[in-house]
Symmetry: C2
Subunit: 634 residues, 2 copies
């Protein structure tokens, strides 16, 4: 038996909801992974890497990674299914998930979306089959977040029709690159394209880094990042290029090209826009990381909740019976709001994948630039929130299992260590939230602009007045229509959307002086950075809330819907509770209402407690991937 047998009809309904549109893919991956021999504990780093490489080949043999690629190269163009499949891998060994993500998502994905047929014809098939292993060499030691200012150069030499790839300074070495230390043969190298003495910004180049025997290519220095906190089955390394020559065709030239004589051309004139268009095609990586983080959090919760439901500590003085950990309010509060938010994030992730599929499946790509931008912003925000949530949740689960949670045999230590870097890679979370905030500000500017000059002025005056009132505390509830009812979905939605809107409007106002000539842009931005991050976070909260609220309405099984409504309530109210100071400060909640939110969170914890096991079972994590001594102790 690889998965729990659904008996309770609510379990079936919730499982159907969570498995969603790509349920067949999920089932396929669950089944495939069940057939793989699991990674043995206690391997040395070298053995672990070898084992994960073996699994990558086994995965390639299932043809599952192929599905995401274009049909003309043997794929199915199932962009969404590929991400969902990746996400499902997250129930297993996260090194495999990351190594697969590097190979097929980042390396293969870059070749597919940034390259053209000359690259596709030659490389896609061996990439899909796992015969050509590669790296995604973007990050540099000195530029991890500010990738527009990478220092590696690719200078065109018109005499030989070659690009010269070079690392001009120590900070320009490619760092933390997966597949680099041991297995990669080629790398997609991001570098400043220079031709005819002019720099055209960052472009991607396909560069061989090892020969067939595995030795570094001439001019390429490869070193090993060595042991990491986790993910030690992935061989992260560093690449330094000393005037390495590659043919002109090595440029992944979908968006720009260099002619034999060195003439640069691009379908996108603006350098900035070109760069972000290229980056945007890579959004799949971020979405996959958010999904993988979700699976890791689900697995941790399944372990901690099952442990908490059977492990007992201290006797009830009335009955004399020892009380299960999960019957304690403090324990419920550690795990159940996190569980509710994990549901909401899972559903938001499903929406995000569907939107990505709509925009990026074969034929759809590039048709709606604004929708593509929105997708990128949403992916950035959800990745940040989902990975921080996973880190905090797995930590809470470890602590909730006490000493047992600290033993490797009980899986939580590795989950924690492996997933910890999810908040950093594919974009540092803080930087991603900033990216989202900037996107929201642009969109806000457009919206306000549509009001016309008079409307804009009135609107601005309103924001200023409200803001002044807030500073004095005089705005108390003046704008509110009716009292906040904690368990009303409408009320929750209103509160969360209103917070997001208000934070954005007041942010726009605060940042306006930066537009003036000679303004200290950095100073103004930096003084508002906490506000900006809060606005982005609030926006994501509203999006995530909408996903779970919509899902409640979609479930037809009445008992399952009622249960999910409680999950929605607990998610919404714990988000509101965590930021209730803001709601109080901004006249969105009265003191009595704020206290009622806390009371409702406590009540919901108690009323969901008997269903906690069912809620984690609905994730459908194969039992063989959960099985550990912790589940058998009392």
């Amino acid at each position: 038996m690889t998965t729990a047998v659904p008996t309770d009809p609510r379990l079936h309904a919730l499982r159907t909801l969570l498995d969603g549109r790509w349920s067949a893919v999920r089932e396929e991956v669950r089944e495939q992974m069940g057939r793989f021999r699991p990674v043995e504990p206690g391997l040395s780093t070298e053995e672990y890497r070898a084992r994960v490489l073996e699994l990558v080949h086994e995965l390639a043999a299932t043809k599952r990674p192929h599905a995401g690629f274009a049909p003309e190269y043997g794929g199915e163009g199932d962009v969404g299914g590929t991400v969902v499949g990746f996400q499902t891998l997250g129930y297993g060994d996260l090194s495999l998930l990351v190594k697969a993500g590097v190979q097929w998502g980042l390396f293969g994905g870059a070749v597919q979306v940034l390259g053209t047929s000359r690259h596709h014809d030659e490389y896609l098939r061996p990439i899909m089959d796992g015969e050509l292993l590669g790296c995604f060499a973007m990050t540099e030691t000195g530029h991890g977040s500010d990738v527009q200012n990478l220092r590696t150069t690719a200078t065109y030499d018109p005499d030989t029709h070659e690009f010269v790839i070079d690392t001009p300074e120590p900070g320009a070495r490619k760092d933390y690159i997966g597949n680099a230390a041991r297995d990669g043969r080629m790398a997609v190298v991001f570098a400043q394209l220079v031709t005819r003495g002019e720099t055209h910004g960052v472009h991607a180049f396909l560069v061989p880094i090892r020969d067939d025997a595995g030795a570094a290519m001439p001019g390429v220095t490869i070193s090993d990042c060595g042991e990491k906190a986790g993910l030690n089955g992935v061989d992260n390394g560093r690449l330094v290029f000393d005037h390495v020559r590659v043919p002109r065709g090595a440029l992944l030239n979908r968006f720009a090209d260099v002619a034999e004589d060195g003439t640069y051309s691009s379908s996108i004139e603006n350098e900035n826009r070109r760069f972000f268009t290229m980056l945007g095609t890579l959004v799949r990586g971020r979405i996959s990381v958010a999904g993988g983080a979700g699976s890791a959090a689900q697995k941790a919760l399944a372990l901690a909740i099952r442990y908490g439901a059977v492990h007992r500590q201290f006797a009830d003085p009335t009955t004399g019976e020892e009380v299960a950990l999960l019957d304690y309010r403090a324990h419920q509060r550690k795990l159940l709001p996190a569980l509710a938010t994990t549901y909401a994030l899972h559903l938001a992730q499903e929406d995000l994948v569907a939107e990505m599929h709509r925009l990026q499946a074969p034929g759809a790509l590039g048709t709606d630039e604004q929708a593509q931008r929105d997708l990128e912003y949403r992916a950035a925000g959800l990745k940040a929130v989902a990975t921080w949530h996973a880190t905090a949740t797995i930590q809470a689960c470890r602590e909730a299992c006490g000493g047992a949670g600290y033993l490797a045999e009980n899986l939580l230590p590795q989950l924690k260590a492996d997933s910890d870097v999810f908040t950093t890679f594919e974009g540092d979370n803080t930087v991603l939230l900033q990216l989202l905030a900037k996107g929201l500000l642009s969109e806000y500017g457009r919206r306000v602009g549509k009001l016309g000059p008079l409307g804009t002025a009135r609107f601005a005056a309103g924001v200023v007045a409200e803001s002044a009132a807030e500073k004095t505390g005089l705005n108390k509830l003046s704008h509110r229509v009716k009292a906040f009812a904690p368990r009303s979905a409408d009320a929750q939605s209103r509160l969360l959307h209103d917070r997001a809107e208000h934070l954005l409007a007041s942010l726009a106002r605060r940042l306006r002086p930066a537009l003036a000539d000679g303004a200290d842009q950095f100073g103004i931005f930096n003084d508002a950075q906490d506000h900006l991050l809060h606005a982005a976070r609030a926006h994501v909260d509203a999006v995530v809330y909408d996903a779970v609220a919509t899902a409640v309405d979609q479930v037809t099984d009445v008992p399952a819907r009622e249960l999910l409504a409680q999950v929605r309530d607990l998610h919404a109210l714990s988000v509101i509770e965590a930021d209730r100071a803001w709601f109080l400060e901004h006249g969105r909640l009265t003191v009595a209402e704020s206290r009622a939110v806390t009371a409702a969170v406590n009540e919901l914890c108690a009323s969901l407690r008997p269903h906690a096991r069912l809620l984690v079972d609905a994730f459908g994590i194969p039992e063989s991937w959960l099985d550990c001594p912790l589940l058998h102790t009392r």
Copy 2:
């Protein structure tokens, strides 16, 4: 050079303050540790354990561990100095710290404080010298927190004058026991003492678990907990006893004894009180863990702040220069409030150690029972708060260093993994805060009782009235004397103490119904558990605040005092900010004041930023223990 050379006079003043009363011990340990060969990275678990054992012997050879033991056995009775020395070890390898803690603190400590001369004469010297390695076998798989209900039995057999130690059920196996899997020869085993058919509660017994050749003794089954999230230099294991016979003298009989004929006697009649008296003597372990957590947090902050001060990302659009991470407000907010709180906790720890020394140094022990209880409560609370703070801070530091923070070579991964279990061992943090809350409630009961019947009634009526007013939000500031000035130490103190008092008073009122006959004690307690934990936390916050506030007044160097006053402010205001919803809900802050707190935190982050390096240098962490590639990259 093992430590930074103090040049700035403020550095000297702060270092003197932080090193405190036992500065000589700190210097000695810094110097000793500098002479030890550091643990090589990449060792297998077995090699790592062997290496740490070697270090334990090297440590024993320094005679530093001896200092904490009684002078008549070759020690110095320097109880406080021993804990400070232990704490200083926390700058190095945490496996050594924990293994040393098990050997001298827990095992040796139990023999010293629970045993009598017959045990001291035979065992103390070889324990101090590291010739006799031992375990502290309290925790059981089924009873980690509720140690009063351990299931292991020690049944006296009057025919042979022996105790029979037995593990009657699987959940009664001793679990997670340090020194058990590999090195321990004896264990202090906590078991229910049974004699003449009667159980007298948990007592401690000295039980040989391995013979001289290292084989398990007959009837003792030893197994290995295997790999853990961290601390893999410590050999945690499990012990199962199958009717293991030990002589009558194996009972550590300071507080209770069994005569040859099986007659039980104790100087403490009440079983409950006896148990907690025994446990109380072991408070040193908790204090040491709080101190070790502090050192780990300090080391993580030193790494992250030094990295953030040199690593630059994104250019200031006005100057074109790239901005150091630590100049971003979001980065400051991740690290600087944590730094301020680390200062405050360090100073509170110093006070705690001094009080412990006052009560437990030779001659002082047992003279003031109430003071001893208070010490235990304070230790419980500070251990919980300090270890959670360390876990969160180290996590933030890891993230603040991005990919570099994920590489083992940069020390943060091991710091995180090793210190993670500090929130669990020596008492689960949630359970410890409950212990503190219960202590506070007793003390509160005594205080209120002293008011006399009329006073108590008036007092109770006042609490009820305020509480009713709060529910409706009508209490707005009615009781406040004057506006809150964020940077006033008096105002900070008032706010933090008032919160602690109010939470305690309202908790006492909420729990009163549990005293009624037939009350559902568990239900009433559980409904208030979040309130109870909040009350305990608020109490610790007030104690910690007092420590840093007092220290400010003690520093004579004016520039150093001014700097420390800012540290105090940032600590206090970030604590207040995190709970400002409570202050708003309870009419302690107006909306304008609450927003002013956030603004002040931002301002303090900016004004402390130029001094961040100096503040971490003042910890005096030997440079050789910090040195890693992360400090040399840009």
